[in-house]
Structures are given as C-alpha cells and as structure tokens.
C-alpha cells in the first residue's frame, strides 16, 4: 500500500483583518470592498516561504525518524532563491540525510499536487520509501489590489510512503492547460491577473469539472462517492461552485479564505491536511489542485489515521493568532514601504559563502556537539569541552538543538540593534537537556517575556545580504504556546 503516512501544517501567527487593509487602501480602490471581509494570515518579518516550509515539515515529522526520509519535494511560487536549490536548504534545516532526492516544484499553483503525484510515483519504486512533500507560499498582492486582500501565507507538508499509511492513494488524473490567469515574470514581485469572472468561469469552472469528470470516469466514481472534496478554489463562493459540481455542502472542505487567505500553491495541501484532521477511517477524499490545468487525487483513509492526531496542523495553528492591527507594519514586514533603517540597517556585514558551506548543519539545523565524556551539550561545535569540570579533548558527538526545548535565562528588548520589528528581542536560552545559546526571540512581545519562560526552536530568516544575494536563515526561540488552552 502506498499513500500518505503523516501530515503537518503551518500558518503564521499574525492575522491581518481585511478591514484594516481596506481602511488604509480602500480610498484607492473602492471595488475591494467586496473582498474586504475576514482576515488573512501574514508571515512575520522574519518568515518567508522557506521558513514556513521548515515549520510545516517539522510539524509533519513529529514522531517520525528524519533519517528515514529519502526525498524532499518543495513546492511554491515564491521560493527565495531562483538559482540555488531551495529544497536543499530546507533539507539541511530538517537534518535529512545527504543521499536523498530533492527538487523544487514551482511556477504553478498546482505545483503542490503535481509534486504529490510525483512523490507517490517515486515511492512505487524500490529506491525511495519515504518522501516529504511540502507546499508553501507567501504571495504578495500589490497594495490597493484585490489580491492584497485575498492572498494569505501558509504551508502544508505530507510524507508519502509505504508503511503505516493513513490515507491510501487510489489514483489520480491530471490536466495541463496554459491558462494565463496569474502571471509573474523574472524580477517581478507582484503577480498579474485578469478579470475575476473570467478566471472563475473560464478557469476554475472549466478545468475543475474536467478534472473531476476525468477522475470519476477513470475510476468509475460518482460525486456522491466522496466523504470530502478538497477543491483548491480560493473564492468566497466555494460552496456554490461545489454545488454546481454536484457536491453536497457536507462534502465540501472549507478553503479558509476567511481565516488564512489564498495560500497559492499551498492551498490544496493545506485543505487536504484540514480534511485529514477530521477524517474517519474509510473516508474517501478527493483532492483537486488547480493552476495551469490541475491534478485530481483520490485517497481512502485508513485506521492508522488515529495514531497521528497530535499534529498542530491546521486546527492548532488557526487557534494561535495575533492581530496585526497596523497596515504600515504589514508593509514594512513585506518590504513594501521604504523606511529609514539607519546605519545599523544599512551596514550589513558580508555573508561569506565558504563559511555557510563549512558550517553546514551547525547553522542549518542547529547542530552542536555533546561531550561523550561528561554529556554536556554545547553550541557551536567545540573540540574541547566547555564544561569547566571536564575539558575533554576531541570526544564529541553531533548533537541537534533544533528539537530541544529550553527556558529563558535572561532577555532584553533592544532598541539600538537594528530590527524590522523593534525592539530586537534576544536572550540566553538554557536548554532543558543542557547547553546554553544566545538566541533571538520571535513571535512574541517584550511585555510577555519572563525569566524562566519555556521556549522551543523555530527556523527563521536572520538577515538578507542583497549585495551578495544571500538569505541567511537561523533558529530563534519562540515561547511555547499551549494550543489546548
């Protein structure tokens, strides 16, 4: 049996109420009143499609052995690097083996579902047993546009494999069509679109029925055979669209437009994860990814699904949120408003590529060392043990901190240090299993920091060196939020 063996998701903590956008930009484009409802998820200033991919994948890998992953497909239309494989960066951050297969799937909103089919094809062979597929997007709508309202940020990850399958893969059907609804050429930041009704009626409403018809015909199914249908259609009229496709309201998986927004290539897989969270053994789920054609995939949920209910997933991330009540802050976070960064923001120390390569997972996966003589974890890697009582030489083993929790030993909020969201918060983190690191603290506010506060690690963008074309990523501390509270 092949199929999905695990799932995970990520939605950034900040939510921007669309009324906040409309209050700032509605004067410019009154027509956006129609889309100015609900809220959208917005990446923090130190997040992008890469960091969200690592977060969703970490959620997905909960309880799984990272050494058993044989491949990673990363899917997005907003990958940070055009040249330098993004999946390779993601793979290093997830501490995967180096003898694995990686690829970036990009340029289309259907890249998530296309990669999922490619992954399922791969695990049919003998070389690959487990492959992680992650779809992530942080698309930017131009200020004043409808896309600014509808686009949201998020990511979803699935592991495809042969053992302990939670949703068996039953088949797929794909279509390719050069339908130019959304376009963006090299060097452009904002996608172009075309008249909305044309996109809906000639795009979604023709391609999706063809997909479903193709799949049903291929596998001899009818619309009533699905417990859940995941249609990656980012409109408010999803239910009506599905009704026209012959589905009952109860079959329709919500597209989270009102809570997260259109997450582009991640939308289909995020909706699929949300469906799996509620699915029962025996349920048949139809997943339709859309974009320049589309992909329809058919899954049947197994008993194994009960074993992985501990993901934070979509539900858990929807529950953790903070209102971003300042449109200008949103513009600065997304680098849409030139602000006076001062000499400390201008004078970026040169990022040296030979260093990032040599340090490898020290930087990417927070890999330090542990002294085999006294057991002390330490970071970065040391040759001579840091423990004053030990001092053993060259008796170290690799030790990862990324999955360890700790407590704030001391902290500050620094108004002198440059930050896109001052004050810059950082402190000493004492790890519960030993070791101390100086780390930035994110996704919180100074007022809520306390000595002794429990934290976990999160992968974030540390700085950008535009002169040398470098996005530098590293780990930060984030307060542990009880999602059950």
């Amino acid at each position: 049996m092949i199929g999905i063996t695990s799932y995970g998701a990520y939605i950034p903590r900040y939510r921007l109420n669309r009324k906040t956008i409309f209050a700032a930009m509605g004067w410019f484009n009154a027509a956006t009143a129609g889309v100015a409802r609900g809220e959208k998820a917005v990446a923090n200033y130190d997040e992008d499609s890469m960091t969200m991919a690592v977060a969703a994948s970490s959620d997905c890998l909960n309880g799984c052995s990272r050494k058993d992953i044989d491949g990673l497909y990363l899917c997005s239309t907003t990958l940070p690097y055009v040249e330098r494989q993004n999946a390779a960066i993601c793979s290093e951050a997830l501490a995967f083996r180096s003898d694995i297969r990686t690829a970036d799937f990009t340029a289309s909103l259907k890249s998530g579902t296309t990669a999922l089919i490619a992954a399922l094809d791969a695990v049919r062979g003998d070389d690959i047993s487990n492959l992680l597929v992650c779809a992530t997007d942080s698309r930017q709508g131009k200020p004043g546009s409808a896309m600014e309202h509808t686009f949201g940020d998020g990511a979803a990850s699935l592991i495809v494999g042969k053992d302990s399958v939670i949703a068996e893969f039953k088949g797929s059907y794909s279509l390719t069509r050069d339908f130019p609804d959304y376009r963006r050429i090299q060097e452009e930041r904002f996608p172009h679109s075309w008249e909305e009704r044309w996109i809906r009626d000639e795009g979604y409403m023709k391609i999706i029925p063809s997909l479903i018809e193709g799949l049903c015909k291929k596998y001899n199914l009818a619309s009533g055979d699905f417990a859940k249908v995941v249609i990656s259609y980012p409109g408010r009229d999803l239910k009506n669209v599905c009704k026209r496709l012959g589905f009952d309201e109860g079959q329709v998986q919500d597209n989270m437009l009102a809570t997260v927004g259109d997450t582009g290539s991640a939308l289909g897989l995020m909706m699929f994860v949300a469906a799996l969270e509620e699915a029962n053994p025996g349920d048949t789920i139809l997943v339709c990814g859309y974009g320049n054609g589309g992909d329809a995939l058919l899954f049947e949920v197994t008993d194994e699904i009960e074993k992985i209910r501990d993901r934070q997933g979509i539900k858990g991330h929807l529950a953790v949120k903070k209102d971003l009540d300042n449109y200008n802050k949103y513009l600065v976070f997304r680098d849409l408003l030139p602000v006076e960064v001062g000499i400390r923001g201008e004078e970026i120390t040169m990022a040296r590529m030979s260093v990032t390569s040599r340090e490898g997972q020290t930087l990417a996966a927070l890999s330090g060392s542990r002294c085999t003589a006294c057991g002390t974890p330490q970071y970065p890697k040391q040759r001579i043990c840091i423990n004053p009582e030990c001092g053993a030489i060259d008796q170290m083993e690799d030790y990862f901190f990324f999955d360890k929790n700790g407590r704030i030993n001391s902290y500050t909020g620094d108004n002198l240090a440059f930050s896109w969201d001052p004050p810059a918060m950082y402190g000493f983190i004492d790890f519960n299993e030993g070791g101390r690191l100086y780390l930035d603290i994110t996704d919180t506010d100074l007022e809520s920091l306390k000595v002794g506060m429990p934290v976990r690690m999160t992968f974030r963008r540390k700085f950008v060196d535009r002169q040398r074309g470098v996005y530098a990523y590293f780990w930060k501390a984030i307060p542990i939020v009880d999602t059950n509270a």
Binding site: T349, P380, I386, T412, L416, L446
Partner: protein, 403 residues
C-alpha cells in the same frame, strides 16, 4: 614562584585629553595632546622612551591599524611600538605591556597611550559587532549590542533578587546620578549635566530595562602614561604613583554556552580582582581600597562590579548605592571623575583615563579642587571589562602613592 609587579614600576607622567564629541580633533590631535601633557607632567625627554604600547579597539573604523598611527603621530624614533586590542580592557592592556617591559628590565622608560576616535564611525553607540567573534558568528549570534547584553544581565539580576522593575530602575539610576554629580564638576568630562533622579529614571529605553542614562557616553579621546622602574621614579618627581597590581582574566566563553554561569556576576572580574588583591597584598578590599574607577559602560555593570570585586556583598550592592557609600564623600568613592558614564568612553583610552584620575587623586591634585577626595586616599583601583557578557575580558589595576 611568581612575585608579581607590586612596587616594581611607577607612573611618573600622565596626560588625558578632554573626552567628548570632538568633531574638530583628529586621532593625531588627541594622541599628541595626551602625549604632550604626559611628558611635561613627568619631565621626560621623548628620546628616552625605550618602548611604547598603543591601545585602540575599533581599528578599521577609526584610528587605524597596527601601531603605525602612534609612531607616526608622535614620531617615535625606531623603538618597539606595539598595538594592543582586547575590547574595553585595551587601555589597561597598553599600560600592562609598558609596565611589564619596565618590570622585566627590558627598558627604562615606557609609554602607554590609548586613543579612540569613535565619533567618526557614524554610529550613535558602538559600531555593530558583526563578525567580532569570527566570520561564523554573523550567522548564529543575535545582532547583539552592548546595552542589549547588559540589559539581559539587569533583567536577570532584578528577577534573582526580587527587585520590581521600578525598584531596579531606581537603584540603577542612583548609580548614574552619582556619576553625573561628579562629572558635572569635571571640565574634561564628556557629559557635564547633572539631571534629577526623575529625569534619569524616566529616560527613553535603549535596551530593556536600561534607559538612556544607564548608558555611558561614546566619545573621542586619548590618555597616556609614562612608566619607569620604581627605584628611579623619584628622579622624575616627588610624588610618583606605584603599580600595586595589574591583573587580567578572560573566561573561556563558558557563560555563553554553559549553564554554570548564573548571569548575574562577572566571573572574569571576580578572578581578576582576587588576583589583583593578592598581588597588591590587600586582604579586606572594602576597607583598604580608598577609591575606584570601575567599568560603568552601563549602570548595571557598575552594580555587579561592586559585588564581583567584593566591595559590596553579593546581592546587596543596592544598599551601599542607596547609602551613598560610593559617592564622592562616601567610604569608597567611585567614578570621582564621572566614570565612563559622564567622562566618556573612547575605548582604547578608557583604562589609562581611569589610571589618570587615580594618579591625580592619590597625588592630591584632582582639578578643580572641589573634586579632590578628602579621605586621604592611598590605594585606588581601576577596573575594565569588555567583550560579550558571559565571555568578558576583565582587568584590575591597583595603584598606590606609597611603596
């Protein structure tokens, strides 16, 4: 068994420029001004100087690299000139080099001069640390600033000793209040206002919980010392000042990677203090030290230094601070010239500037005369530390006016 350098070396000439935002002074101007005062003070012929040590910290962005800037400015004639840099102990390191040279018999007259021209760097505060700990550091260390690191210490200290934020800020402001009172009287000090406690407490936050007045001035300036063997000192002047101890300690970054450091005391300062007291033969520092210049880059740094140097009991410095123990008329006056807080902090010059104040006070020549301590001081202590909290390099110098 090493015997240390107590009473082997004496300072016979010193100079110190005014510190401040000296937009119209070049590094050369500062070095020559400090040097001129020192040779005139000691009656030293520059040709007799056998070796020189030059201290400057942020080399590439201000004074220049190596020892050439000093040799060039002073036209030192083909003698050994060495540049030293060790964060905020840089000035004291220059003095240590000169003293060790004289103590060893390598030369008869040695010069230590520290200079820093921070106000041409373009930064308010110190320049960013960037790759200060090596090129890798850029990728994994937060974008630390000095007030940020000491702000962490302050928050941890408040937490440990149960000080509310308001109580803590009041204690810290009292430290700065005292230094402003002293600095206001000193014509060479950078900051010469004496704001009220309310102004100090309510100043804008630089790095939580430290406000503007918890932070020292970032200044231009230079200071110089000329040292000779102790037994030749009286040939130069009747009131030479003797080196009683010069100690340095650097923790091997234990505090930033190992949980054994509590984050609320300065280990390298503690060790340097113990070693300095031993070298100087001091058994009860609180009773025997008559004045101190400690590294008050931030008010919290001064507070923890009181404790780490065993002047105030651990966790109880606040009571001494509130009692005026460290005020100009207190038992152990501290920062009688205004300290880093008000006199200013051109890093390379700072350690020698502290020695300059102690030198003048021990000679009874502090200017203007209302700054002169009335406790008949015989032993003074200068302390510096710098680097990264958890991995600080610290120096302690003890000077005396009697052999």
């Amino acid at each position: 068994m090493a015997t240390g350098i107590k009473n082997k070396v004496a300072i016979i000439g010193m100079g110190c420029t005014r510190f401040g935002e000296l937009w119209d002074k070049s590094a050369q101007d500062l070095m020559v001004d400090a040097f001129k005062e020192a040779i005139e003070d000691g009656g030293v012929d520059p040709k007799d100087i056998g070796a020189a040590w030059f201290g400057s910290c942020f080399d590439e962005v201000n004074v220049g690299k190596g020892a050439i800037p000093l040799a060039r400015a002073l036209k030192l004639p083909n003698i050994p000139v060495t540049r030293v840099e060790n964060f905020c102990t840089t000035g004291t390191e220059a003095l240590r080099g000169a003293c060790y040279a004289v103590a060893s018999g390598a030369c008869d007259v040695a010069l230590a001069l520290g200079a820093e021209k921070l106000k041409d760097t373009g930064y308010g505060g110190l320049p960013d640390f960037g790759t200060m700990l090596g090129t890798e550091n850029l990728f994994y260390t937060p974008n630390l600033t000095a007030p940020g690191m000491f702000g962490m210490v302050a928050n941890a200290y408040f937490e440990k000793y149960g000080l509310s934020r308001d109580e803590g800020k009041r204690v810290l402001s009292r430290i700065s209040y005292k230094s402003h009172q002293n600095g206001a009287m000193n014509p060479r000090a950078h900051l010469r206002r004496a704001p009220s406690m309310d102004v100090l407490i309510n100043a804008p936050i630089v790095a939580d919980p430290l406000g503007l007045f918890d932070c020292c001035g970032v200044s231009d300036g230079a200071a110089a010392a000329i040292v000779v063997p102790a037994d030749k000192a009286k040939e130069y002047r009747p009131d030479p000042i003797y080196i009683k101890a010069l100690q340095l300690s650097l923790t091997p970054a234990t505090g930033i990677g190992h949980q054994s450091w509590d984050g609320i005391h300065f280990e390298s300062t503690r060790i340097a203090g113990i070693n300095a007291y031993k070298e100087a033969g001091i058994e009860k520092p609180r009773e025997e030290v008559n004045l101190m210049e400690v590294h008050d880059c931030f008010s919290i740094s001064e507070l923890l230094t009181y404790e780490s140097l065993q002047i105030s009991p651990i966790g109880k410095a606040r009571y001494d601070i509130e009692d005026g123990f460290y005020d100009l008329d207190g038992q152990v006056p501290c920062q009688s010239d205004g300290g880093l807080k008000c006199f200013g902090h051109p890093i390379g010059a700072t350690g020698i500037r502290m020695a300059y104040e102690i030198y003048k006070q021990l000679q009874g020549k502090a200017e203007p005369s209302q700054r002169q301590l009335q406790n008949d001081p015989r032993l003074g202590l200068a302390h510096n530390h710098g680097g990264i909290c958890g991995s600080l390099v610290a120096s302690v110098a003890i000077l005396g006016n009697e052999v």
